[in-house]
């Protein structure tokens, strides 16, 4: 799993992921989100546009990240999910909680 972080705006961090987000890579993703939040970026955009596959453990890492962000008075949004990722989001109804945004720009707007 490829991971890259950078600042989008003041207090807003971007985590760009690539490859397979599954039970093996999920703990690392969770840790990366925690690190962004702990480093003073309570609002996090997770860019999934290069993620080829995601399973329920991957979704779990996103939910855990959302929890951390909210506890820090922040928020977490996702962007750029492909068809497979959108399918697992819909299958678990998680799209009713975490609305997938098309692009990073859209996710970072109105915060």
């Amino acid at each position: 799993m490829d991971m890259e972080t950078r600042d989008l705006a003041d207090g807003v961090g971007l985590l760009a992921l690539g490859g397979r987000l599954n039970m093996v890579s999920a703990p690392g993703v969770k840790a990366a989100i925690d690190e962004l939040i702990g480093g003073g970026r309570p609002r996090v955009v997770v860019d999934l546009s290069s993620v080829s596959f995601m399973d329920s453990s991957g979704l779990g890492a996103l939910v855990a990240g959302l929890k951390r962000a909210r506890q820090a008075q922040g928020d977490l949004r996702i962007s750029g999910a492909n068809e497979q990722v959108l399918t697992v989001l819909r299958l678990t109804n998680l799209d009713r909680v975490l609305r997938p945004r098309d692009t990073v720009e859209e996710a970072g707007r109105d915060w």
Partner: protein, 649 residues
Amino acid sequence: MRRWLVRLLVLLTLTFGTIYVGWRWVFSVNWANWWIGVPLVVAETYSLIDAYLFGLTVWRLRVRGEPPPPPADATVDVFITTYNEPVEMVLATALAAQRIGHPHETWILDDGAREDMRAAAEAHGVGYITRSEDWQNRPRHAKAGNLNNALFLTHGEFMLILDADQVPDPLILDRTLGYFSDPRVALVQTPQWFVNVTESDPLGSQAPLFYGPIQQGKDGWNAAFFCGSNAVLRREALMQLGIVGYVREMSAAVRAALDAGSRVIARAVRQARRDADPALPALLGVQQAVGQARERLASGDAVADVTYEFQRQVDEAARGLVSSDLAGIEADLRAIRALPVDHDDELGVLVVDEAALERLADREWSPLGAIESVRGLLAAVDVDRDDEAQPMMPLATVSVTEDMATCMRLHSLGWRSVYHHEILAHGLAPEDLRTMLQQRLRWAQGTIQVMLRENPLVQRGLSVGQRLMYFATMWSYLSGFAALVYIAAPVVYLCFGVLPVHAFGLQFLEHFIPYMLFNQLLFLVVGYGIRTWRGQQYSLALFPLWIRACVTAAANVLFGKPLGFVVTPKTRQARGGFPWRLILPQTVAVAVLVLACAIGVLRLWTGASTSTIGTFVNVAWVAYDLLVMSVIFRAAAFRAPETDDQKVD
């Protein structure tokens, strides 16, 4: 061959049973003595429905042969759950787990967080997991919580779950993993078998009918049950369950909190209008935010977006609002700390105390207090589920016995389960009556809880067969009430000559005997080669326990009363004298039955009763009751043989 014989006997039993119970309702209820006549025919109807459900179960008996070969690259975690069992016992299980042939990692999940357990695990190179600090001061959810915690600290594709006393066979994974080649399979359950049980098994510990024809029958309907131990689960299935559950529970809780908040704020607004309070605009702002949030949820907007926006709007509205009434604020803050949204400590389900909510809504809030209480209500249930250690609870926490609820949810998401009929772990059963009764009570309570909270008959996603398989098990736990009637009816007849039926004559026997004979024959064929009699005895002999389980579970689900949950000790309890107190109701029942027989015979002899056949039928009935109930006295007198490796006290 056997399958067709079973089906034939099922058809015969149900045909004659339906004729008999139909005849009873239409022609033979003695309405003059309705107070015993009606309970009896209802109890008989209960038993007939039980027979239908049993017939349906064994109709599709599925005997799986050799399992498919295991996928070589499957990654597996072996979880050994413990709370307070002796370190040596847990370690013995862990060392056996290390010797399992298929590649895997072994973990001890120590809910007791014991230092000596940790040291023993480390000394032998076994993984050791305790609750993370997230769980401090939050509902722990017993064994389900223990497993949920471990699920997020490991990452194998599959997990084998073992109770602390279940020593696994080295082949346990090789014999079970192959079923997962079907990507829809989420669970493979193997039998529970106990090594410390004598041949006669007075405590009825072995459940050969359940871990045999019943599980095989359920398997035929793709409804093989998860039984909490000796089972392999697919992580992906559990995680999916966790996400689905998170979305469902959180959405419902946010909705409830917004409803409550809108009542609180409406009252505060009225109050502020009356007093011309300068805080009115702020309150109106919050009221608008609540209304908007409810509308957006109703129209299907994503919950995280709605709650985030809501919190921001409330912050905005409250900004700059300074109250002069500091004393009032103090009182308000105290009330906020005691918000009526709470968690049931045993079950961890969100409990919104309606009465307390009324009081809260009726409270005289200061404007700031009202806003804070709305904010607090929502924060309690926000998307981060701050009240729970983990936002996701893959293993169901709805009931004290998590297994059945978890399995039912897996099935309703379309996953498949497998029952593999081969003993691949050897465990320890309770060795004294008290422990055994506690364990049965817990199972029964858990089952009734699931039935009341998540009635399988109306669960979406389950097939009709699956619904009935779950319902069958729950239905069987209601037998205590029927047993009470089966004991009372002959007593009433023998002592007072009160007839629940028109007559116990030949016509009665003609209808009853074919039903009874075929029913017994069915049992004999289904249970060929296994001992089913103990199970039959206990389903009647434990009637006080079944009734208690139903009553306490119903009180818990409907009125939030605590269950008095107990963890079953895996070690023998201190020995005492004959435990009369534990079997008091059965002792009274036996005394009354014996006395009733004597009176019945006496009445026949003195001519107070004229029906020889009636007396005969009822005495035979009592004899059967006594034979069945005799087991509880054997169990009470039972002393497990002392062996060196099991000695605890």
